[in-house]
Amino acid sequence: MDTLIQEGPTIFGAFVTALRLALLAGMGALVLGIFTAAMRVSPVPPLRWTAAVYINLVRNTPLTVVFFIVVFGLPQVQIRLPFFTFAVIALGVYTATFVAEAIRSGIQSIPDGQLEAARSLGMTFPKTMRHVVLPQASRTVVAPMASVLIALVKNTSIASAFGVAEAMSAMTSLVNVHSSEVVMIMFVTACGYVLIALLIGRLFAWVERRTAVLR
């Protein structure tokens, strides 16, 4: 118990780093994901194929392999950045594919009739997007987004193996120092992650409730 009080700040700081990593990677993933989703549903074949190739390749590769390619591969082409930045890149590129798929499924969930009605009213593509597609798609997208975000926070733990001082690496070094309190330290770290996951889940459930429409 004393170990906990003694090392509390360290653990807390480590989680803050993990959340910072998740936040930065998440924002990057959101931007890249929206862009990729737009490419994925566009009528221009080369854009569609590039997006499809990117999504399918990265989704079927483990995140650890993506990390290895970024952390050890980029220096081979003279791109040397801090480990934290590499982690943001790896997590962002990986998570963007899941964001893109979530958005695509949101767009596809809209009944055809909506789009037919919009067209028969003479709405142009940008107008359809703005008034019909995006408002409805964003409601369907919220639930999988929570999923993706929680997975992202959990995936930041992998950065610990690549030189980033976040929650998991703090746990392993604390376990080495206080080897008699292994279970307690691990339990606390687990609770930290679970707490974050539950909070994100609650937040998104609240958003879902606020934007839900009974069909």
Binding site: V41, P46, F72, E208, L214
Partner: protein
């Protein structure tokens, strides 16, 4: 449906615009590809001494192949353990007894919130201290994957069970079957068949998560690739090959899941579909649009 519903069948003007856009986009993509290749070539990434070992070293591919085998072994054992575990948890979560329901719910929601890596560290570091016995890396990986995926599979099976018409249970109970009989003989087979694509998808995720084993020293594909990359100083090439192997493996398994879901769709055309992705991350409020 999908993308083609977003825009009308293109008329001649739209077709011309799309053609122009395609040419421009194609040129753009080609440009990016050329720059990428140039950058790689400038840094000698296409040179013989980077690709040489992959092409000429006799022992490299058997070395990596053993890694791949270890990956598959860990994934298959973990699935074989996690599947029954998950089913038991799912049934427990729908039990008559409140204490059992709560216990299973706590377990599932707790385990789903933590990273798999943490579980692997637990079995690698804490287990030997707690139980005074050494755990081989394989079993640390397998147990961690089982604990985690058991919870995920529980949610998948639960979604499947919830998607079944209530009439199934009522009819079975009307002819005198006991609860566990009904679950075992009527509900579970249908639920599992309905969720087969999702379960296979989870197997793909399991294969990807097995690569975390490298952190605790399990000699699976990624760990071996790392060793090879360090030995021959061609990490980019080796990891590209590793990624390709994982992609081929996962795409094959996913393709299998597609085939099964298509055959199922043909067989039961009128059935209600399962609410998508309701087994993923914990959102504590049930969705309003079922």
């Amino acid at each position: 449906m999908s993308g083609s519903a977003l825009f009308d069948a293109p008329g001649p003007l739209a077709r011309r615009r799309i053609l122009i856009a395609s040419v421009l986009a194609g040129a753009g993509v080609a440009l990016v590809a050329v720059l990428l290749i140039k950058r790689l070539a400038e840094n000698g990434q296409f040179s013989a001494d980077k690709w040489g070992p992959l092409l000429h070293e006799d022992k490299l591919f058997p070395f990596l192949a053993v890694g791949l085998m270890n990956t598959i072994i860990a994934a298959v054992i973990a699935l074989a353990l996690a599947l029954p575990f998950g089913i038991v948890l799912a049934v427990g979560r729908r039990s008559r007894y409140r204490w059992l329901r709560i216990l299973c719910a706590i377990y599932v929601d707790f385990v789903r919130g933590m990273p798999v890596l943490l579980l692997m560290f637990f079995f690698f570091l804490a287990f030997p201290i707690l139980f005074q016995m050494d755990l081989p890396a394989l079993w640390a990986v397998v147990l961690a994957l089982t604990i985690f995926n058991g919870a995920i599979i529980c949610e998948i099976v639960r979604a499947g069970l919830t998607s079944l018409p209530v009439g199934q249970y009522e009819a079975a109970s009307a002819i005198g079957m006991r609860r566990m009989q009904i679950v075992r003989l009527i509900l579970l087979p249908q639920a599992l068949r309905a969720m087969l694509p999702a379960l296979i998808g989870q197997f793909v995720i399991l294969i990807k998560d097995s690569s975390l084993g490298f952190v605790i020293g399990y000699e699976e594909l990624l760990a071996r690739s790392q060793a090879a990359g360090l030995l021959f100083n061609n990490p980019l090439q080796i990891y590209a090959v590793t990624a390709a192997v994982y992609i081929v493996l996962n795409v094959s398994v996913s393709w299998l899941s597609h085939r099964i879901s298509r055959r199922q769709a043909r067989r039961d055309k009128g059935k209600q579909s399962v609410p998508p992705q309701s087994w993923q991350e914990p959102t504590t409020v049930p969705s309003l649009n079922k």
